[in-house]
Protein backbone atom coordinates (compact mmCIF):
# COMPACT_ATOMS: atom_id res chain seq x y z
CA UNK A 1 0.00 0.00 0.00
CA UNK A 2 2.80 2.39 0.82
CA UNK A 3 4.48 1.40 -2.41
CA UNK A 4 1.36 2.40 -4.28
CA UNK A 5 1.30 5.72 -2.46
CA UNK A 6 4.88 6.35 -3.41
CA UNK A 7 4.19 5.50 -7.02
CA UNK A 8 1.19 7.80 -6.93
CA UNK A 9 3.38 10.63 -5.73
CA UNK A 10 5.94 9.92 -8.39
CA UNK A 11 3.28 9.87 -11.10
CA UNK A 12 1.71 13.15 -10.15
CA UNK A 13 5.02 14.79 -9.50
CA UNK A 14 6.51 13.85 -12.84
CA UNK A 15 3.38 14.78 -14.65
CA UNK A 16 3.35 18.25 -13.24
CA UNK A 17 6.98 18.90 -13.83
CA UNK A 18 6.46 18.07 -17.49
CA UNK A 19 3.98 20.87 -17.91
CA UNK A 20 4.93 23.44 -20.51
CA UNK A 21 5.34 26.96 -19.26
CA UNK A 22 7.00 28.23 -16.20
CA UNK A 23 5.28 28.44 -12.86
CA UNK A 24 7.78 30.94 -11.54
CA UNK A 25 7.01 33.50 -14.23
CA UNK A 26 3.33 33.17 -13.64
CA UNK A 27 3.10 34.86 -10.30
CA UNK A 28 5.83 37.41 -10.10
CA UNK A 29 4.68 41.03 -9.95
CA UNK A 30 4.54 42.87 -13.20
CA UNK A 31 7.76 44.77 -12.88
CA UNK A 32 9.72 41.82 -11.64
CA UNK A 33 13.29 41.67 -12.80
CA UNK A 34 14.87 38.50 -14.12
CA UNK A 35 16.65 38.32 -10.78
CA UNK A 36 13.31 38.15 -9.01
CA UNK A 37 12.23 35.31 -11.24
CA UNK A 38 15.52 33.52 -10.67
CA UNK A 39 15.24 33.97 -6.94
CA UNK A 40 11.72 32.53 -6.96
CA UNK A 41 12.89 29.65 -9.04
CA UNK A 42 15.64 28.86 -6.57
CA UNK A 43 13.29 29.21 -3.66
CA UNK A 44 11.11 26.49 -5.09
CA UNK A 45 13.98 24.43 -6.42
CA UNK A 46 12.75 24.49 -9.98
CA UNK A 47 16.18 24.41 -11.53
CA UNK A 48 17.42 21.10 -10.22
CA UNK A 49 17.05 17.73 -11.95
CA UNK A 50 13.69 16.07 -11.48
CA UNK A 51 15.06 13.21 -9.46
CA UNK A 52 16.61 15.50 -6.87
CA UNK A 53 13.41 17.52 -6.68
CA UNK A 54 11.43 14.34 -6.17
CA UNK A 55 13.72 13.19 -3.40
CA UNK A 56 13.30 16.49 -1.60
CA UNK A 57 9.60 16.19 -2.12
CA UNK A 58 9.33 12.72 -0.61
CA UNK A 59 11.47 13.60 2.37
CA UNK A 60 9.28 16.61 3.03
CA UNK A 61 6.05 14.79 2.35
CA UNK A 62 6.87 12.29 5.06
CA UNK A 63 7.05 15.20 7.44
CA UNK A 64 3.76 16.43 5.97
CA UNK A 65 5.49 19.41 4.44
CA UNK A 66 4.29 20.06 0.92
CA UNK A 67 5.81 23.45 0.56
CA UNK A 68 4.17 26.80 0.12
CA UNK A 69 1.27 27.51 -2.20
CA UNK A 70 2.11 29.85 -5.06
CA UNK A 71 -1.28 31.43 -5.03
CA UNK A 72 -2.04 31.84 -1.36
CA UNK A 73 1.51 32.20 -0.11
CA UNK A 74 0.71 29.95 2.79
CA UNK A 75 1.86 26.56 3.96
CA UNK A 76 0.12 23.89 1.87
CA UNK A 77 -0.36 21.55 4.82
CA UNK A 78 -1.93 24.37 6.78
CA UNK A 79 -4.30 25.26 3.95
CA UNK A 80 -5.36 21.65 3.52
CA UNK A 81 -5.68 21.11 7.25
CA UNK A 82 -8.05 24.04 7.56
CA UNK A 83 -10.41 22.71 4.98
CA UNK A 84 -10.25 18.95 5.03
CA UNK A 85 -12.78 18.75 7.85
CA UNK A 86 -15.39 20.30 5.58
CA UNK A 87 -14.79 17.73 2.85
CA UNK A 88 -14.85 14.82 5.28
CA UNK A 89 -18.05 16.03 6.86
CA UNK A 90 -19.72 16.45 3.49
CA UNK A 91 -18.72 12.96 2.40
CA UNK A 92 -19.73 11.44 5.72
CA UNK A 93 -23.17 13.04 5.76
CA UNK A 94 -23.69 12.10 2.11
CA UNK A 95 -22.76 8.50 2.84
CA UNK A 96 -25.11 8.45 5.80
CA UNK A 97 -27.98 9.84 3.77
CA UNK A 98 -27.27 7.41 0.96
CA UNK A 99 -27.19 4.41 3.29
CA UNK A 100 -30.26 5.31 5.30
CA UNK A 101 -32.44 6.40 2.42
CA UNK A 102 -31.09 3.66 0.18
CA UNK A 103 -31.85 0.98 2.74
CA UNK A 104 -35.33 2.28 3.32
CA UNK A 105 -36.13 2.38 -0.37
CA UNK A 106 -34.50 -0.97 -0.95
CA UNK A 107 -36.43 -2.68 1.80
CA UNK A 108 -39.63 -1.07 0.68
CA UNK A 109 -39.08 -2.20 -2.89
CA UNK A 110 -38.22 -5.70 -1.79
CA UNK A 111 -41.36 -5.95 0.26
CA UNK A 112 -43.37 -4.60 -2.60
CA UNK A 113 -41.65 -6.64 -5.23
CA UNK A 114 -43.35 -6.69 -8.58
CA UNK A 115 -45.74 -3.84 -7.82
CA UNK A 116 -45.83 -0.37 -9.25
CA UNK A 117 -43.89 1.00 -6.32
CA UNK A 118 -41.08 -1.40 -7.05
CA UNK A 119 -41.05 -0.40 -10.67
CA UNK A 120 -41.02 3.28 -9.88
CA UNK A 121 -38.22 2.89 -7.41
CA UNK A 122 -36.26 0.90 -9.94
CA UNK A 123 -36.59 3.61 -12.54
CA UNK A 124 -35.81 6.33 -10.03
CA UNK A 125 -32.65 4.63 -8.98
CA UNK A 126 -31.38 4.34 -12.52
CA UNK A 127 -32.41 7.93 -13.13
CA UNK A 128 -30.49 8.96 -10.05
CA UNK A 129 -27.20 7.83 -11.48
CA UNK A 130 -27.93 9.29 -14.86
CA UNK A 131 -28.12 12.91 -13.87
CA UNK A 132 -24.90 14.82 -13.39
CA UNK A 133 -24.20 16.09 -9.88
CA UNK A 134 -23.95 19.71 -10.86
CA UNK A 135 -27.37 19.68 -12.48
CA UNK A 136 -28.96 18.06 -9.47
CA UNK A 137 -27.28 20.62 -7.25
CA UNK A 138 -28.49 23.55 -9.32
CA UNK A 139 -32.03 22.19 -9.37
CA UNK A 140 -32.06 21.50 -5.63
CA UNK A 141 -30.83 25.01 -4.86
CA UNK A 142 -33.42 26.42 -7.19
CA UNK A 143 -36.16 24.52 -5.44
CA UNK A 144 -35.20 24.66 -1.79
CA UNK A 145 -33.25 27.83 -1.59
CA UNK A 146 -34.44 30.21 -4.24
CA UNK A 147 -38.10 29.26 -4.41
CA UNK A 148 -39.00 27.82 -1.05
CA UNK A 149 -36.46 29.73 1.02
CA UNK A 150 -36.03 26.72 3.22
CA UNK A 151 -32.33 26.18 3.05
CA UNK A 152 -29.21 28.23 2.47
CA UNK A 153 -27.73 28.52 -0.98
CA UNK A 154 -24.18 27.66 -0.16
CA UNK A 155 -21.30 27.90 2.24
CA UNK A 156 -20.91 26.07 5.50
CA UNK A 157 -21.95 28.41 8.29
CA UNK A 158 -23.15 31.98 8.61
CA UNK A 159 -20.99 34.53 10.33
CA UNK A 160 -21.42 34.77 14.04
CA UNK A 161 -21.83 31.10 14.63
CA UNK A 162 -18.74 29.70 16.22
CA UNK A 163 -18.43 26.07 16.97
CA UNK A 164 -15.54 25.08 19.20
CA UNK A 165 -13.01 23.12 17.26
CA UNK A 166 -12.66 19.57 18.45
CA UNK A 167 -12.52 17.36 15.42
CA UNK A 168 -13.02 19.84 12.62
CA UNK A 169 -16.36 18.28 11.81
CA UNK A 170 -18.97 20.81 12.76
CA UNK A 171 -21.92 18.66 13.73
CA UNK A 172 -20.05 16.34 16.06
CA UNK A 173 -18.15 19.29 17.50
CA UNK A 174 -21.34 21.14 18.27
CA UNK A 175 -22.91 18.10 19.86
CA UNK A 176 -19.78 17.38 21.88
CA UNK A 177 -19.82 20.92 23.18
CA UNK A 178 -23.38 20.56 24.29
CA UNK A 179 -24.81 22.90 21.65
CA UNK A 180 -27.36 20.91 19.66
CA UNK A 181 -28.85 24.16 18.33
CA UNK A 182 -25.58 24.94 16.56
CA UNK A 183 -25.47 21.41 15.22
CA UNK A 184 -28.92 22.04 13.79
CA UNK A 185 -27.72 25.13 12.00
CA UNK A 186 -24.70 23.32 10.61
CA UNK A 187 -27.02 20.56 9.45
CA UNK A 188 -29.13 22.97 7.43
CA UNK A 189 -26.07 24.04 5.53
CA UNK A 190 -24.79 20.57 4.80
CA UNK A 191 -28.10 19.00 3.84
CA UNK A 192 -28.37 20.22 0.25
CA UNK A 193 -24.79 19.53 -0.82
CA UNK A 194 -24.83 16.15 0.92
CA UNK A 195 -28.11 15.16 -0.71
CA UNK A 196 -26.77 16.18 -4.10
CA UNK A 197 -23.70 14.07 -3.56
CA UNK A 198 -25.75 11.14 -2.27
CA UNK A 199 -28.24 11.15 -5.11
CA UNK A 200 -26.77 8.46 -7.30
CA UNK A 201 -25.64 6.34 -4.41
CA UNK A 202 -29.15 6.17 -2.95
CA UNK A 203 -30.30 4.45 -6.08
CA UNK A 204 -27.44 2.03 -6.16
CA UNK A 205 -27.79 1.06 -2.52
CA UNK A 206 -31.52 0.72 -2.89
CA UNK A 207 -31.15 -1.65 -5.78
CA UNK A 208 -28.53 -3.79 -4.17
CA UNK A 209 -30.50 -3.92 -0.93
CA UNK A 210 -33.57 -4.96 -2.80
CA UNK A 211 -31.91 -7.69 -4.80
CA UNK A 212 -29.91 -9.12 -1.94
CA UNK A 213 -32.95 -9.08 0.29
CA UNK A 214 -34.93 -10.88 -2.33
CA UNK A 215 -32.13 -13.40 -2.75
CA UNK A 216 -31.87 -13.88 0.97
CA UNK A 217 -35.61 -14.14 1.20
CA UNK A 218 -35.46 -17.34 -0.75
CA UNK A 219 -33.15 -18.94 1.76
CA UNK A 220 -34.23 -21.78 4.00
CA UNK A 221 -33.57 -20.05 7.25
CA UNK A 222 -36.04 -17.36 6.40
CA UNK A 223 -38.80 -19.90 5.83
CA UNK A 224 -37.89 -21.35 9.17
CA UNK A 225 -38.05 -18.00 10.88
CA UNK A 226 -41.37 -17.18 9.34
CA UNK A 227 -42.75 -20.58 10.16
CA UNK A 228 -41.76 -19.97 13.74
CA UNK A 229 -44.06 -17.00 13.72
CA UNK A 230 -41.68 -14.05 13.52
CA UNK A 231 -43.25 -10.81 12.38
CA UNK A 232 -42.17 -9.14 9.18
CA UNK A 233 -40.08 -6.37 10.73
CA UNK A 234 -38.23 -8.91 12.83
CA UNK A 235 -37.54 -11.05 9.80
CA UNK A 236 -36.30 -8.07 7.88
CA UNK A 237 -34.03 -6.67 10.49
CA UNK A 238 -32.76 -9.76 12.16
CA UNK A 239 -32.29 -12.10 9.26
CA UNK A 240 -32.48 -10.48 5.87
CA UNK A 241 -30.53 -7.31 6.37
CA UNK A 242 -27.45 -8.80 7.95
CA UNK A 243 -27.05 -11.04 4.94
CA UNK A 244 -27.56 -8.15 2.64
CA UNK A 245 -24.79 -6.28 4.36
CA UNK A 246 -21.99 -7.87 2.42
CA UNK A 247 -23.07 -6.79 -1.02
CA UNK A 248 -23.98 -3.39 0.40
CA UNK A 249 -20.53 -2.93 1.86
CA UNK A 250 -19.06 -4.11 -1.43
CA UNK A 251 -21.01 -1.52 -3.31
CA UNK A 252 -20.02 1.21 -0.92
CA UNK A 253 -16.42 0.23 -1.42
CA UNK A 254 -16.83 0.46 -5.17
CA UNK A 255 -18.61 3.77 -4.96
CA UNK A 256 -16.01 5.48 -2.79
CA UNK A 257 -14.19 6.77 -5.83
CA UNK A 258 -17.37 8.29 -7.13
CA UNK A 259 -18.04 9.79 -3.72
CA UNK A 260 -14.71 11.55 -3.68
CA UNK A 261 -14.78 12.78 -7.25
CA UNK A 262 -18.41 13.80 -6.90
CA UNK A 263 -17.52 15.78 -3.80
CA UNK A 264 -15.16 17.96 -5.83
CA UNK A 265 -17.95 19.03 -8.16
CA UNK A 266 -20.54 19.41 -5.41
CA UNK A 267 -18.13 21.57 -3.43
CA UNK A 268 -17.64 23.86 -6.39
CA UNK A 269 -21.36 24.13 -7.07
CA UNK A 270 -22.19 24.95 -3.45
CA UNK A 271 -19.06 26.93 -2.63
CA UNK A 272 -18.45 24.42 0.12
CA UNK A 273 -15.12 25.37 1.74
CA UNK A 274 -13.45 22.00 1.43
CA UNK A 275 -10.35 20.81 -0.41
CA UNK A 276 -12.34 20.33 -3.63
CA UNK A 277 -12.81 24.04 -4.15
CA UNK A 278 -9.22 24.53 -3.05
CA UNK A 279 -8.08 22.08 -5.72
CA UNK A 280 -10.00 23.98 -8.31
CA UNK A 281 -8.35 27.21 -7.26
CA UNK A 282 -4.98 25.52 -7.37
CA UNK A 283 -5.23 24.01 -10.83
CA UNK A 284 -6.69 27.20 -12.27
CA UNK A 285 -3.42 28.97 -11.73
CA UNK A 286 -1.13 25.95 -11.98
CA UNK A 287 -0.20 26.10 -8.34
CA UNK A 288 1.97 23.02 -8.31
CA UNK A 289 2.71 22.57 -4.58
CA UNK A 290 -0.92 22.97 -3.63
CA UNK A 291 -2.13 20.69 -6.41
CA UNK A 292 0.30 17.95 -5.49
CA UNK A 293 -0.59 18.26 -1.82
CA UNK A 294 -4.30 17.95 -2.46
CA UNK A 295 -3.96 15.09 -4.93
CA UNK A 296 -1.80 13.17 -2.47
CA UNK A 297 -4.31 13.80 0.31
CA UNK A 298 -7.26 12.69 -1.79
CA UNK A 299 -5.46 9.58 -2.97
CA UNK A 300 -4.33 8.65 0.53
CA UNK A 301 -7.88 9.13 1.74
CA UNK A 302 -9.14 6.89 -1.01
CA UNK A 303 -6.62 4.18 -0.22
CA UNK A 304 -7.40 4.45 3.47
CA UNK A 305 -11.12 4.19 2.92
CA UNK A 306 -10.64 1.11 0.79
CA UNK A 307 -8.64 -0.48 3.55
CA UNK A 308 -11.37 0.37 6.02
CA UNK A 309 -13.94 -1.25 3.78
CA UNK A 310 -11.80 -4.38 3.59
CA UNK A 311 -11.59 -4.45 7.37
CA UNK A 312 -15.31 -3.98 7.60
CA UNK A 313 -15.70 -6.94 5.31
CA UNK A 314 -13.68 -9.09 7.61
CA UNK A 315 -15.75 -7.98 10.53
CA UNK A 316 -19.10 -8.79 9.04
CA UNK A 317 -18.26 -11.93 7.13
CA UNK A 318 -17.08 -14.58 9.53
CA UNK A 319 -16.14 -16.78 6.64
CA UNK A 320 -13.44 -14.36 5.59
CA UNK A 321 -12.13 -14.20 9.08
CA UNK A 322 -11.37 -17.86 9.28
CA UNK A 323 -9.59 -17.76 6.00
CA UNK A 324 -7.41 -14.99 7.33
CA UNK A 325 -7.59 -13.20 4.05
CA UNK A 326 -6.98 -9.51 3.70
Amino acid sequence: MLVVLLLVCLTIFTMLRLVPGDAAELLVPEDATPEDVARLREQWGLGQPIFVQFLHFVVNAVRLDFGVSYRFRDDVTHLIGQRIGATLELAAVALLIAIVVGLVFGIWAALRKGTLVDGILSVLSIAGVSAPHFWIGIMLVLLFSANLNLLPSGGRLPYGIDIPHVTGLLIPDALLSGRPDLAWIALQYVVLPATTLAFGMIGIIARITRSSMIDAGQEEFVFTAVAKGLSVPAVVFRHLLPNALIPIVTIIGLELGGLISGSIIVEVVFSWPGIGTLLFQAVSVRDIPLTIGIVVVYTSLFILLNVLVDLLYMAIDPRLRTKGAL
Binding site: V3, V4, L5, L7, V8, T11, I12, M15, L16, V19, P20, I126, A127, V129, S130, A131, P132, H133, F134, W135, I138, M139, L142, A146, P247, T250, L254, G257, G258, I260, S261, I264, I265, V268, L279, F280, V283, S284, R286, T291, V295, Y298, T299, F302, I303
Partner: protein, 275 residues
Protein backbone atom coordinates in the same frame (compact mmCIF):
# COMPACT_ATOMS: atom_id res chain seq x y z
CA UNK B 1 -37.25 -11.53 -19.68
CA UNK B 2 -40.05 -9.01 -19.81
CA UNK B 3 -38.20 -6.54 -17.70
CA UNK B 4 -35.10 -7.03 -19.79
CA UNK B 5 -37.00 -6.23 -22.93
CA UNK B 6 -38.54 -3.14 -21.41
CA UNK B 7 -35.25 -1.78 -20.16
CA UNK B 8 -33.52 -2.54 -23.42
CA UNK B 9 -36.16 -0.88 -25.53
CA UNK B 10 -36.51 2.10 -23.27
CA UNK B 11 -32.77 2.56 -23.23
CA UNK B 12 -32.50 2.13 -26.95
CA UNK B 13 -35.21 4.73 -27.38
CA UNK B 14 -33.45 7.31 -25.25
CA UNK B 15 -30.06 6.69 -26.76
CA UNK B 16 -31.50 6.42 -30.21
CA UNK B 17 -33.10 9.82 -29.92
CA UNK B 18 -29.77 11.37 -29.01
CA UNK B 19 -27.91 9.53 -31.75
CA UNK B 20 -30.55 10.64 -34.23
CA UNK B 21 -30.02 14.20 -33.08
CA UNK B 22 -26.31 13.88 -33.56
CA UNK B 23 -26.41 12.24 -36.95
CA UNK B 24 -29.34 13.99 -38.59
CA UNK B 25 -29.11 17.28 -36.76
CA UNK B 26 -28.39 19.21 -39.91
CA UNK B 27 -31.79 18.35 -41.24
CA UNK B 28 -33.57 19.63 -38.18
CA UNK B 29 -32.22 23.13 -38.15
CA UNK B 30 -30.59 25.47 -40.59
CA UNK B 31 -28.63 27.40 -37.96
CA UNK B 32 -25.06 26.77 -36.92
CA UNK B 33 -24.36 26.33 -33.22
CA UNK B 34 -22.14 29.39 -33.01
CA UNK B 35 -24.30 31.63 -35.14
CA UNK B 36 -25.24 34.65 -33.08
CA UNK B 37 -28.10 37.01 -33.59
CA UNK B 38 -28.41 39.36 -30.69
CA UNK B 39 -31.74 40.66 -31.93
CA UNK B 40 -33.45 37.33 -31.20
CA UNK B 41 -31.72 36.56 -27.91
CA UNK B 42 -33.54 34.74 -25.12
CA UNK B 43 -36.47 33.50 -27.19
CA UNK B 44 -38.47 30.81 -25.40
CA UNK B 45 -38.94 27.41 -27.06
CA UNK B 46 -41.62 27.34 -29.67
CA UNK B 47 -41.88 24.18 -31.72
CA UNK B 48 -43.45 25.99 -34.62
CA UNK B 49 -40.90 28.74 -34.95
CA UNK B 50 -37.51 28.93 -36.55
CA UNK B 51 -35.99 28.22 -33.16
CA UNK B 52 -37.89 25.21 -31.82
CA UNK B 53 -35.92 25.00 -28.61
CA UNK B 54 -35.46 28.72 -28.22
CA UNK B 55 -32.33 30.83 -28.25
CA UNK B 56 -29.69 31.67 -25.69
CA UNK B 57 -28.40 35.02 -24.48
CA UNK B 58 -26.42 35.58 -27.68
CA UNK B 59 -29.28 34.59 -29.92
CA UNK B 60 -27.84 31.20 -30.79
CA UNK B 61 -30.19 28.37 -31.73
CA UNK B 62 -30.49 25.95 -28.83
CA UNK B 63 -31.43 23.06 -31.08
CA UNK B 64 -28.30 23.54 -33.14
CA UNK B 65 -26.25 23.67 -29.97
CA UNK B 66 -27.91 20.53 -28.67
CA UNK B 67 -26.94 18.80 -31.92
CA UNK B 68 -23.38 19.94 -31.38
CA UNK B 69 -23.51 18.84 -27.76
CA UNK B 70 -24.80 15.42 -28.74
CA UNK B 71 -22.02 15.02 -31.28
CA UNK B 72 -19.33 16.04 -28.83
CA UNK B 73 -20.62 13.82 -26.03
CA UNK B 74 -21.08 10.76 -28.17
CA UNK B 75 -17.86 11.23 -30.10
CA UNK B 76 -15.76 11.75 -27.01
CA UNK B 77 -17.42 8.95 -25.10
CA UNK B 78 -17.12 6.51 -27.98
CA UNK B 79 -13.46 7.42 -28.50
CA UNK B 80 -12.76 7.02 -24.83
CA UNK B 81 -14.40 3.60 -24.74
CA UNK B 82 -12.65 2.36 -27.85
CA UNK B 83 -9.29 3.68 -26.73
CA UNK B 84 -9.49 2.54 -23.13
CA UNK B 85 -11.20 -0.69 -24.07
CA UNK B 86 -8.71 -1.65 -26.69
CA UNK B 87 -5.76 -0.74 -24.54
CA UNK B 88 -7.18 -2.34 -21.41
CA UNK B 89 -8.21 -5.60 -23.02
CA UNK B 90 -4.89 -5.96 -24.74
CA UNK B 91 -2.84 -5.14 -21.69
CA UNK B 92 -4.92 -7.36 -19.45
CA UNK B 93 -4.77 -10.29 -21.79
CA UNK B 94 -1.01 -9.95 -22.15
CA UNK B 95 -0.56 -9.54 -18.45
CA UNK B 96 -2.56 -12.64 -17.59
CA UNK B 97 -1.16 -14.69 -20.39
CA UNK B 98 2.50 -14.04 -19.73
CA UNK B 99 2.34 -13.91 -16.01
CA UNK B 100 5.50 -13.55 -13.98
CA UNK B 101 7.41 -10.32 -13.64
CA UNK B 102 5.60 -8.60 -16.48
CA UNK B 103 2.30 -9.38 -14.87
CA UNK B 104 3.44 -8.04 -11.51
CA UNK B 105 4.69 -4.80 -12.96
CA UNK B 106 1.54 -4.23 -14.94
CA UNK B 107 -0.58 -4.98 -11.91
CA UNK B 108 1.39 -2.46 -9.90
CA UNK B 109 0.69 0.13 -12.55
CA UNK B 110 -2.97 -0.82 -12.39
CA UNK B 111 -3.03 -0.43 -8.62
CA UNK B 112 -1.33 2.95 -8.82
CA UNK B 113 -3.64 4.35 -11.43
CA UNK B 114 -6.66 2.92 -9.65
CA UNK B 115 -5.68 4.69 -6.45
CA UNK B 116 -6.46 8.10 -7.94
CA UNK B 117 -10.05 9.14 -7.40
CA UNK B 118 -11.66 9.33 -10.85
CA UNK B 119 -11.99 12.93 -11.96
CA UNK B 120 -8.96 14.17 -10.12
CA UNK B 121 -6.43 13.20 -12.74
CA UNK B 122 -8.61 14.50 -15.53
CA UNK B 123 -8.89 17.92 -13.92
CA UNK B 124 -5.17 18.06 -13.29
CA UNK B 125 -4.19 17.00 -16.80
CA UNK B 126 -6.52 19.42 -18.52
CA UNK B 127 -5.61 22.33 -16.31
CA UNK B 128 -1.90 21.84 -16.69
CA UNK B 129 -1.54 20.54 -20.23
CA UNK B 130 -4.18 22.58 -21.91
CA UNK B 131 -7.70 22.01 -23.09
CA UNK B 132 -7.93 20.29 -26.42
CA UNK B 133 -10.14 17.56 -27.76
CA UNK B 134 -7.24 15.13 -27.68
CA UNK B 135 -6.36 15.98 -24.10
CA UNK B 136 -9.95 15.52 -23.00
CA UNK B 137 -10.07 12.05 -24.53
CA UNK B 138 -6.71 11.21 -22.99
CA UNK B 139 -7.71 12.54 -19.58
CA UNK B 140 -10.91 10.53 -19.58
CA UNK B 141 -9.21 7.35 -20.80
CA UNK B 142 -6.34 7.40 -18.42
CA UNK B 143 -8.09 5.32 -15.78
CA UNK B 144 -10.94 3.78 -17.73
CA UNK B 145 -8.85 1.00 -19.21
CA UNK B 146 -8.49 -0.69 -15.85
CA UNK B 147 -11.80 -2.61 -15.64
CA UNK B 148 -11.19 -4.04 -19.11
CA UNK B 149 -7.70 -4.99 -18.03
CA UNK B 150 -9.08 -6.86 -15.06
CA UNK B 151 -11.61 -8.93 -16.92
CA UNK B 152 -9.15 -9.67 -19.71
CA UNK B 153 -6.50 -10.75 -17.27
CA UNK B 154 -8.93 -12.96 -15.37
CA UNK B 155 -9.96 -14.58 -18.60
CA UNK B 156 -6.38 -15.01 -19.75
CA UNK B 157 -5.42 -16.60 -16.46
CA UNK B 158 -8.18 -19.16 -16.59
CA UNK B 159 -7.47 -20.00 -20.16
CA UNK B 160 -3.75 -20.22 -19.75
CA UNK B 161 -3.97 -23.58 -18.11
CA UNK B 162 -6.53 -25.01 -20.47
CA UNK B 163 -5.58 -27.83 -22.71
CA UNK B 164 -6.49 -26.39 -26.04
CA UNK B 165 -4.34 -23.37 -25.41
CA UNK B 166 -1.38 -25.52 -24.48
CA UNK B 167 -2.09 -27.51 -27.56
CA UNK B 168 -2.03 -24.40 -29.70
CA UNK B 169 1.25 -23.40 -28.21
CA UNK B 170 2.81 -26.76 -28.83
CA UNK B 171 1.67 -26.59 -32.36
CA UNK B 172 3.52 -23.32 -32.67
CA UNK B 173 0.62 -20.94 -32.46
CA UNK B 174 1.69 -17.36 -31.94
CA UNK B 175 0.60 -15.33 -28.99
CA UNK B 176 -1.44 -12.96 -31.03
CA UNK B 177 -3.37 -15.74 -32.69
CA UNK B 178 -4.09 -17.45 -29.41
CA UNK B 179 -5.28 -14.25 -27.89
CA UNK B 180 -7.51 -13.23 -30.68
CA UNK B 181 -8.99 -16.62 -31.18
CA UNK B 182 -9.35 -17.88 -27.65
CA UNK B 183 -9.08 -15.15 -25.10
CA UNK B 184 -10.80 -12.21 -26.64
CA UNK B 185 -13.97 -13.87 -27.96
CA UNK B 186 -14.90 -14.95 -24.45
CA UNK B 187 -14.59 -11.45 -23.24
CA UNK B 188 -16.93 -9.81 -25.67
CA UNK B 189 -20.03 -10.04 -23.54
CA UNK B 190 -18.40 -8.67 -20.38
CA UNK B 191 -16.53 -6.06 -22.34
CA UNK B 192 -19.68 -4.76 -23.92
CA UNK B 193 -21.38 -4.46 -20.56
CA UNK B 194 -18.37 -2.65 -19.13
CA UNK B 195 -18.18 -0.51 -22.22
CA UNK B 196 -21.77 0.59 -22.02
CA UNK B 197 -21.49 1.73 -18.43
CA UNK B 198 -18.10 3.22 -19.09
CA UNK B 199 -19.53 5.28 -21.90
CA UNK B 200 -22.24 6.55 -19.58
CA UNK B 201 -19.75 7.68 -16.96
CA UNK B 202 -17.54 9.19 -19.64
CA UNK B 203 -20.41 11.37 -20.80
CA UNK B 204 -21.10 12.49 -17.24
CA UNK B 205 -17.42 13.17 -16.69
CA UNK B 206 -17.09 15.18 -19.89
CA UNK B 207 -20.16 17.19 -18.96
CA UNK B 208 -18.73 17.90 -15.53
CA UNK B 209 -15.43 19.03 -16.98
CA UNK B 210 -17.17 21.34 -19.44
CA UNK B 211 -19.30 22.69 -16.65
CA UNK B 212 -16.21 23.50 -14.63
CA UNK B 213 -14.78 25.19 -17.67
CA UNK B 214 -11.85 22.84 -18.18
CA UNK B 215 -13.31 20.51 -20.76
CA UNK B 216 -13.34 20.88 -24.49
CA UNK B 217 -12.31 24.38 -25.72
CA UNK B 218 -15.22 26.72 -25.09
CA UNK B 219 -15.93 27.64 -28.68
CA UNK B 220 -17.42 24.18 -29.19
CA UNK B 221 -20.94 23.87 -27.80
CA UNK B 222 -21.22 21.14 -25.17
CA UNK B 223 -24.00 20.16 -22.77
CA UNK B 224 -21.90 21.00 -19.73
CA UNK B 225 -20.85 24.34 -21.14
CA UNK B 226 -24.42 25.22 -21.99
CA UNK B 227 -25.48 24.38 -18.46
CA UNK B 228 -22.74 26.53 -16.98
CA UNK B 229 -23.81 29.48 -19.13
CA UNK B 230 -27.48 28.93 -18.53
CA UNK B 231 -27.13 28.72 -14.80
CA UNK B 232 -27.58 32.40 -14.11
CA UNK B 233 -30.56 32.61 -16.45
CA UNK B 234 -32.44 29.80 -14.78
CA UNK B 235 -35.25 32.01 -13.45
CA UNK B 236 -35.54 34.20 -16.53
CA UNK B 237 -34.91 31.68 -19.27
CA UNK B 238 -35.34 28.22 -17.82
CA UNK B 239 -34.76 26.46 -21.12
CA UNK B 240 -31.10 27.41 -21.13
CA UNK B 241 -30.38 25.19 -18.15
CA UNK B 242 -33.09 22.58 -18.31
CA UNK B 243 -32.74 21.47 -21.93
CA UNK B 244 -29.01 20.65 -21.91
CA UNK B 245 -29.52 18.93 -18.57
CA UNK B 246 -32.17 16.74 -20.14
CA UNK B 247 -29.79 16.07 -23.00
CA UNK B 248 -27.16 14.66 -20.67
CA UNK B 249 -29.80 12.85 -18.68
CA UNK B 250 -31.39 11.01 -21.58
CA UNK B 251 -28.09 10.05 -23.13
CA UNK B 252 -26.78 8.61 -19.90
CA UNK B 253 -30.11 7.09 -18.95
CA UNK B 254 -30.29 5.31 -22.28
CA UNK B 255 -26.82 3.87 -21.84
CA UNK B 256 -27.48 2.84 -18.26
CA UNK B 257 -30.73 1.09 -19.15
CA UNK B 258 -29.13 -0.76 -22.03
CA UNK B 259 -26.15 -1.69 -19.90
CA UNK B 260 -28.40 -2.87 -17.12
CA UNK B 261 -30.45 -4.99 -19.48
CA UNK B 262 -27.34 -6.52 -21.05
CA UNK B 263 -25.85 -7.23 -17.68
CA UNK B 264 -28.99 -8.91 -16.39
CA UNK B 265 -28.98 -11.08 -19.42
CA UNK B 266 -25.35 -11.97 -19.91
CA UNK B 267 -23.37 -11.25 -16.85
CA UNK B 268 -25.45 -10.99 -13.70
CA UNK B 269 -22.65 -11.17 -11.18
CA UNK B 270 -20.43 -8.70 -12.87
CA UNK B 271 -21.72 -5.61 -11.10
CA UNK B 272 -19.35 -6.56 -8.38
CA UNK B 273 -16.40 -6.33 -10.72
CA UNK B 274 -16.89 -3.17 -12.65
CA UNK B 275 -16.56 -0.39 -10.17
Amino acid sequence: MQWFDLKLWLGALCLGAVVFLAVFGNLLTSHRPDEQNLMVSLEPPNLLSDYPLGTDQLGRDILARMVSGARVSLAIAASVVVLSGGFGLLLGALSGYFGGVRDTIIQKVVETMWAFPPILLAITILAFFGQSLGNVILALSIQRWIPYCRIARAQALTLRGKDFVSASRIMGGRTVWIMSHHIVPNLIASAIVVGTFSMATAILAEASLSFLGIGVPPDIATYGGMLADGRSYVTEAWWLAVIPGLGIFFTVLGLNLIGDALRDQYDPKSHLNIG
